[in-house]
């Protein structure tokens, strides 16, 4: 009997080998090289789905573990991670880079909530109303969107593509997915690179303190630069503006090509918080706020326009389905109050999620008890990250045996593309057991502060742009 079962298993595995999926050649925006694209069936027939899978094939097929790229949000698609591919091109010489659009994201049936497209909704009641509309009639889909399903799907993709073990790169919420994958399928994983770390037990939507810390970091950098310091106490001015605009602020053109609207303090808070994701935008905050306090709203309007497009590619339906099941239920009322007490954003950011989840019914899901793991893990954090600040490895990751952290002092959210970080990632993947010499990370500078209409001053000597801006705006979409 057992022998028959064995033979059957062998036969099945042979058939499975024979039926290895055949890719099509395709392209993604942001990456000029051809990709191998699959549409893979995952899950059981009833609760199954067809996922879009994109593989940037290694130049040398030498059997090294591929790297699966896990996107943030939750709501960002892996296929939107093309801006980081150039930074990983050296890794890509030896290893396949695999992007799997999870259910509800990107090319796997984006759950986008069209209601929000092309406008900035800075009114909580309106946001909640639109969310309610988006959620209607989607019970079946909402029930499938959670980390457990995502990891099960990824695991099936891994085996269908014939990879024995894989390395994971996670960005932002993608780090949470990676850490859960590590818990549920430790044997499938060889190493993890986690950029913008969301520990499994962290309450990521309780982000007011982190946002304030990032603003404080910016303020201290600014104070260290005599010309930026001369802009005055712009932090106090920011709080004053937020208070003043509670009952309505100036009329500004917050989206290019659309008529101006009367902005609110929530607009201002969201703009400042979002600008903090990318250093290139953050260095414009002190001047923009100081000018606004003097009655010149143009720089602030420019910033609002710049950040308005940042959320466009995030599938809000996916985001709320996951957040409302896994993260928001763990947030207690008194935590929202205390977390927002001394922050410029107050309770506004967290309330968007707690109120949104009221109209987004979904059963709460618990995470597993954390079991010790020995995979090598590389943590990458930006000191000025307003959502996933540097973690205390000893406290949050005591269960991981083999870990190291890069903290980019001049960095914000997602630093994979900055300075020498790509090389360090490559070195880590090649020799994950070794401790990296990370001294070059200190050479990454903050871009120079905007000081006037002409931009930054040319006598700024210590602060230099380290990477082109375009990619960073993309990455700032992660939560």
């Amino acid at each position: 009997m057992q022998r028959t079962a064995c033979l059957l298993l062998l036969l099945v595995s042979l058939v499975a080998k024979a039926a290895e999926p055949v890719p099509e050649r395709c392209f993604l925006d942001g990456w000029s090289q051809p990709l191998q694209c699959y549409r893979l069936q995952v899950g059981e027939s009833v609760s199954g789905a067809e996922l879009a899978v994109f593989v940037a094939p290694a130049l040398e097929q030498n059997g090294l573990d591929p790297v699966f790229l896990l996107a943030g949000g939750p709501g960002q698609a892996a296929s939107d991670l093309t801006p980081i591919l150039p930074a990983l091109s050296k890794v890509n010489r030896q290893r396949d880079l695999v992007m799997v659009d999870r259910r509800g994201a990107g090319h796997s049936g984006a759950f986008a909530c069209e209601e929000f497209q092309g406008s900035v909704v800075a009114d909580l009641d309106e946001t909640v109303r639109l969310l309610g509309q988006c959620r209607k009639g989607k019970d079946n889909l909402v029930g499938q969107l959670n980390s457990r399903t995502t990891v099960e799907d990824l695991e099936q993709v891994r085996s269908q593509l014939g990879y024995e073990r894989i390395a994971l790169w996670g960005g932002s919420w993608g780090t949470r997915t990676a850490l859960l994958y590590q818990q549920w399928y430790p044997a499938s994983i060889s190493a993890l690179v986690l950029d913008g770390v969301a520990p499994i037990d962290s309450k990521i939507f309780l982000a007011a303190e982190a946002a304030q810390a990032a603003l404080d970091k910016l303020a201290s950098d600014c104070a260290g630069d005599p010309q930026c310091a001369a802009l005055g106490n712009w932090q106090a001015q920011l709080l004053q503006l937020i208070a003043d605009w509670e009952s309505g602020g100036p009329t500004l053109k917050v989206i290019a090509g659309q008529p101006p609207i009367a902005v609110t303090s929530l607009h201002l808070q969201q703009t400042v918080r979002t600008a903090l994701y990318a250093p290139e935008a953050a260095v414009m905050l002190p001047f923009s706020i100081a000018e606004a306090a003097r009655g010149n709203y143009l720089p602030l309007q420019g910033l609002m326009q710049a950040v308005s497009g940042m959320m466009d590619s995030v599938s809000l339906g996916l985001m709320f389905s996951v957040a409302c099941a896994e993260s928001v239920p763990r947030i207690r009322e008194e935590e929202i109050v205390s977390n927002g007490r001394n922050s410029f954003i107050g309770e506004a950011f967290t309330r968007t999620y707690t109120r949104g989840c009221e109209v987004w019914p979904v059963p709460a899901r618990d995470y597993p008890q954390l079991s010790p793991q020995s995979h090598p893990v590389l943590f990458i954090s930006g000191a000025g990250d307003p959502i996933t600040p540097p973690v205390d490895l000893a406290r949050s990751f005591a269960y991981l045996e083999n870990k190291q952290q890069l903290v980019v002092q001049a960095g914000a959210h997602i630093n994979t593309t900055r300075g020498c970080v790509p090389e360090l990632i490559e070195r880590f993947l090649d020799a994950p057991q070794e401790t990296l010499d990370a001294s070059c990370v200190a050479e990454i500078d903050l871009p120079p502060f905007m000081l006037s209409e002409f931009g930054f001053a040319l006598n700024e000597v210590n602060q230099v742009v380290v990477s082109a801006g375009g990619a960073d705006e993309q990455e700032a979409e992660n939560d």
Binding site: R25, F27, D29, G30, S32, Q33, P34, L59, E60, R93, L252, K253, A256, E280, M284, F287, S288, Y297, L298, P299, Q301, G302, L303, Q305, A306, S308, G309, P447, P448, M450, S452, E453, F454, G455, F456, A457, L458, N459, E460, V461, N462, V464, V465, V466, S467, A468, G469, E473
Partner: protein
């Protein structure tokens, strides 16, 4: 001379003469050495060239000088971060002095000199677009790469200033991009290595000619001068058998040379930094075997033609000259077609040499071959070789080719 003797089957006559010709051909150490040397020369050159290109591209930081960097410290710092070996020099007191010094710095081995004009910072703050002078020597091979690095650093700075200036005016930096260009490169990494392998079919065919040249002269004009050809002709064997035996012996050397080339190249490929150039090793064992098979018929044809040409010549020396010219012609033709990127209709593959060139190209990068065309083209090549052998045999028997002795 004797007529063909019907009592001797071709097995009894051809095999011994073939053995004799092969032994003589392979015993000639000098001819063998020529074939081996040429066979190894170009794979080695190719590898060296690629290593050099990549070293230039990846490692070498060009020397760049900035003159007057103190007028805009940000720019000096920006360049310092830009993978160049930067030296900084104080600007002169006047405009003319600045430019004189810039030229002098260029003479001192700098690939680019960046001159920040006086009053740069003031003009920048007044948004009057001050000037940066890039001094370079366009005749210097490294200056192009150095200029590109300087430009790319400056572009980063410009992008940052532009974003800040637009934002200050209330406009999103993104609004200056009216459209986005999305590039799609449909080449495959192995096809890209075809760029490097493109010259290879021509070189392999040249290898055939070079490898068999010395032997073909020796076995024909050489034997004629040594008077040993006459002895051979006294033997009871058909003229075509003699030409065939000689051709096979000569072709074996040419084919050996070309085979050695391709095998040497395959061995050196792992040394080539192909991935650095975004390419893939495309040579497979199957590909090499295909190349060897494809080369065999053309090797025979080349050998026959060489022998006939050498027999027609006035003397040993004359034969050498004629064959040297003869080996250049097809290679010039093939290279010309390749360089001019002439698109040939498929029927052209029936023409010897042209066909082989196309097939070798495909076989080298692992692209599929049109087997019907390959078979037809190979038959044409073999048929021409056969005709040449028969014609040569007749000519030998008629002593037409011996009259010069």
């Amino acid at each position: 001379m004797n007529n063909e003797n019907p009592n001797f089957g071709w097995r009894y006559t051809l095999v011994p003469v073939l053995k004799k010709e092969l032994t003589e051909a392979w015993r000639d150490k000098r001819a063998l050495l020529t074939a081996v040397c040429f066979a190894l020369l170009f794979p080695a050159m190719m590898t060296a060239m690629m290593l050099f290109t990549v070293k230039e591209k990846v490692q070498k930081e060009p020397q760049v000088a900035i003159l007057g960097g103190e007028r805009a410290p940000y720019l000096a710092n920006l360049l310092r971060k830009g993978k160049v070996e930067l030296t900084e020099h104080k600007g002169a007191d006047d405009r003319a002095g600045d430019h004189e010094q810039a030229k002098a710095l260029l003479q001192q081995g700098n690939k680019v000199v960046v001159l920040v004009e006086e009053g740069f910072a003031d003009a920048y703050m007044n948004q009057r677009a001050p000037r940066l002078y890039l001094y370079r020597d366009g005749g210097d091979s490294g200056s192009g790469a150095a200029v590109r690095r300087v430009r790319s650093q400056l572009a980063q700075g410009r992008q940052l200033v532009t974003a800040q200036r637009l934002t200050a005016q209330g406009v999103s930096p993104g609004s200056i991009s009216p459209w986005q260009v999305q590039e799609r490169d449909i080449s495959t990494p192995s096809a890209r290595s075809g760029l490097i392998l493109r010259a290879l079919p021509g070189l392999l065919i040249l290898g055939l000619f070079v490898g068999s040249l010395a032997t073909s002269v020796d076995t024909s004009a050489g034997e004629r001068e040594r008077l040993s050809l006459e002895t051979l002709l006294l033997q009871p064997l058909a003229g075509w058998q003699l030409v065939l035996a000689k051709s096979v012996a000569v072709a074996s050397l040419g084919w050996f040379g070309a085979s050695l080339s391709i095998i040497a190249l395959a061995c050196m490929m792992p040394l080539m930094p192909l991935t650095e150039l975004g390419m893939q090793h495309a040579l497979t064992v199957q590909g090499i075997l295909n190349v060897l098979l494809l080369l065999a018929p053309i090797a025979l044809l080349v050998a026959v033609l060489q022998i006939l040409l050498a027999l027609r010549s006035q003397s040993f020396k004359d034969a050498q000259t004629q064959l040297s010219i003869f080996q250049i012609l097809p290679v010039v033709l093939l290279t010309g077609i390749d360089v001019a990127q002439v698109e040939l209709a498929e029927a052209w593959q029936l023409v010897p040499l042209l066909g082989q060139q196309q097939w070798l190209k495909a076989a080298l990068v692992g692209e599929p071959l049109n087997l019907a065309l390959v078979a037809a083209g190979t038959l044409v090549t073999l048929a021409i070789a056969g005709l040449a052998i028969v014609a040569g045999g007749h000519a030998l028997r008629r002593e037409a080719l011996l009259s010069n002795c």
